[in-house]
Amino acid sequence: MPDLALLWPPVRLTLELAAVTTLVLLVVATPIAWWLARAQARWKEGVAAVVALPLVLPPTVLGFYLLILLGPDGPGGWLARAFGSTSLAFTFEGLVIGSVVYSLPFVVQPVRNAFEAVGNAPLEAAASLRASPWDRFWSVAVPLARPGFLTGAILSFAHTVGEFGVVLMIGGSIPGETRVLSIAIYEQVETLAYTEAHILSAGLLAFAFAVLLAVFALNRRFAFRVTGA
């Protein structure tokens, strides 16, 4: 019987990484999604395409660029020097940056859709009641777009849990710091520790199913509400 205590650190690290990434993404993605939903600029679809790039690019490309950007030759190294280091690769913070880039489209897209679905009418009504733009955003747009935020948060959390290629390239597999679940499973399979790999893989499978089920159920509920209105 494998030592279950040894299986816990990568699970905990992965949950931490996914939680931090999701929080950062909600902050980063919301203004982007709002701008994409409301702006009239002709080049906004260009920005939308840049945001969506991680959907299409292989993780090896992202990981390779991130390795350079996080290193001493890139902005990451510049940032790291402020903390007395030379590189952000192989750190938890580096993984968060990588995961935010990797999962950005998974939050921007649903939130943008939700903002677009809100439409002009409620915002104009609020404006006629002298609500400030700030107030309209927080009291009208965000509550109405809540299903989009929820979907985005669930997807980014799940996508980060399932992340592999990017972490493999910038992580360095440090126990408790960068050896996340997918990397632990990869190394277990490589070293023929199939029992441990089975336990973690089956857990991940069940988790992924539960997440997708939640997203679909959520979408259905939201759709009902819209059509029932």
């Binding site: 290193g71 590189s87 690769a89 192989f90 390239m169 360095g172 597999s173 440090i174 990869y186 490589e190």
Partner: protein, 249 residues
Amino acid sequence: MTSPRSLLALVACLVLAAPAQAGEARVAVAANFTDAAREIGALFTKTTGHDIRLSFGATGQLYTQIALVAPFDAFLAADRAGPEKAVTEGLAVAGSRFTYATGRIVLFSRDAGLVKGPETLTSVNIARIAIANPVTAPYGKAAIEAMTALGVFDTLRGKIVQGTNIAQTYQFVHTGNAPLGFVALSQVVRYEGGSRWPVPEDLHAPIAQDAVLLKGGRDNPAARAFLDFIKGLQARAIKEQYGYGPGDR
């Protein structure tokens, strides 16, 4: 002149003119041997007319692929264990295993003047040191053995970052994300810059890299010829250029 029929005749001539015995072999090659294998493969094709297709990866990965019946004819591993296991598991031809090269590790940094010798490991304040995964990659295991022999492993333990194979380890060092690391001599032997200390071979168990003929290549003359070729003098010169010992004669 260029009627379809004459074109067809031309194609037929070309096909028939190819050497009658020219064959093709697919070889799975450990990542550290990439450059040497390419050069040896090209020379082999030029000499014999046989075509060689090389696939590169970590030895453990390649082994898993071979166990899942990947269509390889021969296996050039980074260790002894892989080919040995392939024989016992019935995946490879018994008696075909031999050491085709011995590897060397080198402590390497892209910063000139950083690595001066073994004292670098204790005198410099090292943020990170990159090695290959010691469980799956023999070069990583040798790095651990060398650090242990030098008595610095316990102080460096917390600073180790692992590449899944020696190629990724080199990537970490080359991009400067790890200021220094233990890489394969073959990876830096043709690179002038940086600073390095070739680790003496008595600090770790020899990194014997074994080759084996796989079941799928048993009746493939091209695969057998390639394994013979890699033992030969021409291949040996190339191996030496890349910083490998010659292996079995």
